[in-house]
Symmetry: C2
Subunit: 378 residues, 2 copies
C-alpha cells in the first residue's frame, strides 16, 4: 500500500535509521534537516510499496557516499543527488519513474526523500543494504545480478563523474570512492538503475517503513515509561528482521578511530558496570563485530547497535565518548542477506575478518525480560 | 599539406618528442612500440595540416595521463584511448572526424597515432601544450576558451570514468588525476573535443612535424659527424620556436625524485666539468626551472632539455643517473604560449615558483659556435 511521508514522520525515521545504521551510515539528523527543507518548499513525498511498483517501472536509487566523519561536517547544498539522477537519466536515455534508497541505515534513509521532494518522483519503500554498509558493491541489488554501473557521483560545485565498470561493482566502488575523496570526502550518487521487476527480486522490502516503526517504538516506549529495548524487540518480532539480542551493557572504555582511505575505521572497548566483562567492537564506518570476553556475540551482516543505556538512542561510532553508558544489541538480518551469494559480498571475510558468519539468534542467548544486562532495574 | 606518417618515421619522432618532453611527458619509446604494433595491423596514418582542417570538423584529442615513472612500467593494452574517444563520441552524440595530440612532448606524441591507426581517423598536426606539461588544464585549448569537459578516462580493464566540470578545467584535472591514480597510476584519456575552427584558433600548429624534424636533425648530425646541438639550433631557427640556448654542460651530481600525488617531483644538481659552476633544476614530471650558479637561465613555459653530452639524446627526469655527462639547452616557446592568458595557466606561478617568466633568449646569452660549454672541443 502506498502512503505519504511528511515532515512529522522525520524525527522517528531519523531515530530508526540511526539504529539501522549500526554505528555508521552517516548522521540521519543531518539528512533530516535536508528533507525538512525540501518538504517545506515542495511538500510531502509519496512512498510506493515495492509490491505496487510496475515491473517495467524505471527506478534510480540515490544516496550520499563518504566517510561519516566528513558527512556530519560537509552538509550538501541539496540538489547534488538530483543532478546525479538527471545525469544518469540522460546517459541511459530514460526518465526515472521513482527513486529508492540504496541503504536504509543512517543519512541514506533521507537522501532519496530529498530527491523525491525536489523532483516530484515517488520513493520506493525498499533498499539494497537492509542496514548500512561502507561500500557500494555491498548491495543485494548487485548480489542478485543488477549492475551498479553506470553510476554518477555529483559534487557541490555542480561537477559530475560518471563511472562505468560493466559488471564489476568492486571496481566501481574503488573509482567512486576516489572521486568522492577528491570532491572533499563526501558526494551524492545515483547508481543501480533497475526495472520494477528487479526491485521486487533484489531489494529488501519495506525498510523505510521499518526505520519509521523502530524509531516510533523507541519514542513511544519513552513516552509511556516502558523499556525501549523491549519495545524494539517487540516491533522487530513481526518483521523479517525478527530477532533482537542484548549483547552487553556497560560503559565506553576506549575508542580508537581514524579516517583512512575515505572510511572511518577503528575499534572500541566497553566494560560492564561491575567491571567483570569486556566487549570489543571493530568498525569500518559501521560496527562489524562484537566480541564479549573474547567470544563472538554478533557479526556482520547482522546488525550491531550501540544504544544510549537509558533512552535507547542509537550512538554512531563517531559519537562514542569515554564513559558513555550503553546497551549493545544484535539484530538478525533477513534471509535475503544471509544466502551464500550475499555473504560472499558483505559477509565477515569481505571486511577482512577471520570469523565465520553465525546468526546472532544462534550465537547469543535470549535472556527474556531481564535482557541479561546490568544497566537497568530487573 | 597533408601527409602520411609510417613506421619508418617513428624513431625520429620519438627522439624529437623526447626532446619536447623537457624531461617528462612519458617515455615516447614505449608509445613508439604501441604505434608500431598498431601500424603493423592497420597501416600508416594520415596527418592533417591544421590549415586544412574544415572549420566544422569535429576533433577529439587523445592522450595518456599519469606519472612518467609509472607510464614506463605500465604499458597500455592498446585500445583504451579508442575506448575513451568512442565513449566521448557517444556522450556528445557526434562522431569524431580526426584525433589530435594534446601534448607533443613525450609519449603523447604517439598515443593519437595509435588511435588514428586503430580507428582509421586522421591525426591533426598540432597540439595544446607545444611541449609536455604535467596537468590537463595547462593547454592552449583551455587558455583560449575551449572547455576540457566532458572528458573520459579509460583504464586497462575496459572501465571508463566520464568527468564533467563545466568550464572548470582545474577541477577536471583534479578529478581525472584521482581516477588515474585509482586506475593504477596511468590511464588513457579523450578531452577538449572541439571544432576545426577551434583547432586553428587555439592549437599550436605543426608540432608533430616539429618533433619529427628535430629528431631527424639530431640523427643526421650524428651520421654526418656534425654537432647535433648546432643542428638542433638550425632546425629550430626556421620554426615558431626559433631560439636555442646552451645553458650548461657538465655531469649529474645529485637527483632527488619522488612519485607524489600521481606526479614525479624532484630536483637535480649538475656540476660543470671543471667543478666551478653548478646547475640546479626542479621538475614536476617536466623540468620547470634551470638556475646556473643561482641565476635563472631558463624557466617554464620555455623548454629546458637535458641531453646526453656527445649524442644529444634527450634524457628524461627518471633517466637521470649520477655521473652522466650532459648538455642542457633552453628553447623558446612560440608567442601563443607567452601571452598573459597563457602564463596565467602554465607560467612559473602555476608550479609554485616565485620567479617571473623571462624569455630564454633574453635571459641566456647566445655563445655562438663554442656554445659556451666545457664539454666539447672548441
Amino acid at each position: 500500500m502506498s502512503w505519504t511521508l511528511g515532515p512529522e514522520d522525520l524525527p522517528d525515521l531519523a531515530r530508526g535509521a540511526a539504529l539501522l545504521g549500526t554505528g555508521g551510515g552517516g548522521d540521519p539528523h543531518v539528512g533530516r534537516l535536508m528533507v525538512q527543507e525540501a518538504m517545506r518548499e515542495h511538500g510531502p513525498v509519496a512512498v510506493l510499496d515495492p509490491d505496487e511498483v510496475d515491473d517495467d517501472a524505471f527506478v534510480i536509487p540515490t544516496a550520499m557516499m563518504g566517510a561519516p566523519t566528513v558527512m556530519v561536517e560537509k552538509i550538501p547544498r541539496g540538489d547534488e543527488a538530483v543532478t546525479a539522477l538527471r545525469t544518469l537519466e540522460r546517459l541511459l536515455g530514460r526518465r526515472a519513474t521513482a527513486t529508492m534508497p540504496i541503504e536504509c541505515g543512517g543519512i541514506n534513509s533521507m537522501i532519496p526523500l530529498v530527491v523525491a521532494a525536489r523532483s516530484g518522483l515517488p520513493v520506493v519503500d525498499a533498499d539494497g543494504m537492509g542496514r548500512a554498509f561502507p561500500e557500494l558493491q555491498m548491495e543485494t541489488f548487485g548480489v542478485y545480478g543488477v549492475p551498479g554501473s553506470p553510476m554518477v557521483v555529483s559534487g557541490d560545485h555542480g561537477e559530475t563523474v560518471t563511472i562505468d565498470t560493466g559488471p564489476d561493482n568492486i571496481r566501481m566502488e574503488w573509482l567512486a570512492r576516489g572521486a568522492t575523496i577528491r570532491m572533499g570526502g563526501a558526494a551524492l550518487i545515483a547508481e543501480y538503475a533497475m526495472s520494477g521487476a528487479d526491485v521486487k527480486r533484489t531489494a529488501i522490502p519495506r525498510t523505510l517503513s521499518l526505520g519509521l516503526s523502530l524509531g516510533r517504538a523507541i519514542r513511544e516506549a519513552r513516552e509511556q515509561l516502558r523499556d525501549p529495548v523491549s519495545a524494539l524487540a517487540e516491533a522487530l518480532s513481526t518483521t523479517i528482521y525478527t530477532h533482537l539480542r542484548v549483547l552487553f551493557a556497560g560503559k565506553v572504555a576506549d575508542v580508537e578511530r581514524r579516517t583512512v582511505d575515505g572510511f572511518a575505521r577503528g575499534r572500541a572497548r566497553f566494560t560492564s558496570f561491575d567491571g567483570t566483562s569486556t566487549l570489543r567492537t571493530q568498525f569500518q564506518n559501521e560496527t562489524l563485530i562484537a566480541e564479549v570476553d573474547g567470544e563472538v556475540a554478533a557479526i556482520v551482516p547482522d546488525l550491531i547497535c550501540v544504544l544510549e543505556a537509558e533512552s535507547a538512542e542509537p550512538i554512531t561510532t563517531e559519537g562514542l565518548r569515554y564513559g558513555q553508558r550503553v546497551v549493545v544489541v544484535g539484530i538478525s538480518t533477513p534471509p535475503i542477506m544471509r544466502t551464500p551469494e550475499a555473504l560472499a559480498v558483505f559477509g565477515p571475510a569481505c571486511f577482512g575478518l577471520a570469523e565465520e558468519f553465525r546468526p546472532v539468534e544462534v550465537v547469543s542467548e535470549y535472556h527474556g525480560s531481564d535482557r541479561g544486562t546490568h544497566s537497568r532495574p530487573a
